[in-house]
Symmetry: C2
Subunit: 146 residues, 2 copies
DNA sequence: TCATGTTGTAACAATAATAGTTACAACAAG
DNA sequence: CTTGTTGTAACTATTATTGTTACAACATGA
């Protein structure tokens, strides 16, 4: 299974905000034009980012901004905002047989390893900030500041 | 989104084989009784493990065995056998706008980070072998060898 | 030969998540 | 009051997962 496009859409939206704001008003329609999805999809994603205090959105007038500096927003923040709703990455089967020596101990044997694997993923995501991505982007586009 | 139960079912099945085989014939029905799922689900999973050369299954007579030693089967092997069919963990939106400086460079900026995060997950999975899990299980059940 | 138990696989249903879309009330500002 | 935007509801389509029944193919022993 794959992690949904919400995550990359969210990162894309944040990069748009970092790149264009505040020179241009970055609306859901503008972001949608860059990502090439329906504006409602962007609004849903921005809603999750707002919930996680990563962006602020102006009601009525329109336009989104970062709620904190790009250096203080990591990919893990974004991942947690749009993907993991407090849940585990690995999904376990519900009712292993407690009467079987394997079924009765499968959680004790496996849970720690799965948690460690998820932690490895999240640790790596936490090492990359939006500022890192912006620096790469600015390098590619020749933009000095945004 | 979560990684499907196929992965934990597969690990559970392999642990059953490691623990009970060859003293008992480990059939799909027997594994299903430990995992508490339908035997057909187990057969489908065993089919994927067989495809990946992790187990052998006796047609007709019944019963599964490890195709190599438990020390030579890692969680990454299992993960790849049942989950990632050569695909990426992170799912990207299809058509970023190439005319937008962000949309046109989003892959160049983000792909490497996503690959690194997936690699971190897989590297951690590769560090744990079925033998490690079996040792934990034997410790819990007081079994010296199986 | 035949009965038995098993595997492999097809077929189908139920459920859930994702993603796209239309529609519209609420809002802010000129 | 007009305009443009947000937030959200509602609905659809698609896909993946999971559970289930059914059955042909197979190996073995009686």
């Amino acid at each position: 299974m794959q992690i949904s496009t919400r995550f990359t859409v969210a990162v894309h939206a944040l990069l748009c905000i970092a790149y264009f704001s505040p020179e241009r008003k970055v609306t859901s329609g503008f972001i949608a034009g860059s990502v090439k999805v329906n504006p409602v999809v962007v609004r849903r994603t921005l809603g999750q980012l707002k919930e996680a205090d990563l962006v602020t959105v102006e009601a009525g007038v329109g336009g989104a901004s970062l709620a904190r500096s790009a250096a203080e927003i990591t990919l893990l923040d974004v991942y947690r905002a749009v993907e993991s709703t407090g849940e585990r990455l690995f999904n376990f089967h519900e009712n292993p047989n407690p009467a079987c020596p394997v079924g009765g101990n499968i959680h004790a044997v496996l849970d720690g390893e799965l948690a460690a694997a998820q932690a490895a993923l999240e640790d790596r995501l936490a090492q990359t900030s939006l500022a890192d991505l912006y620096a790469k982007l600015a390098d590619l586009t020749g933009t000095s500041a945004g």
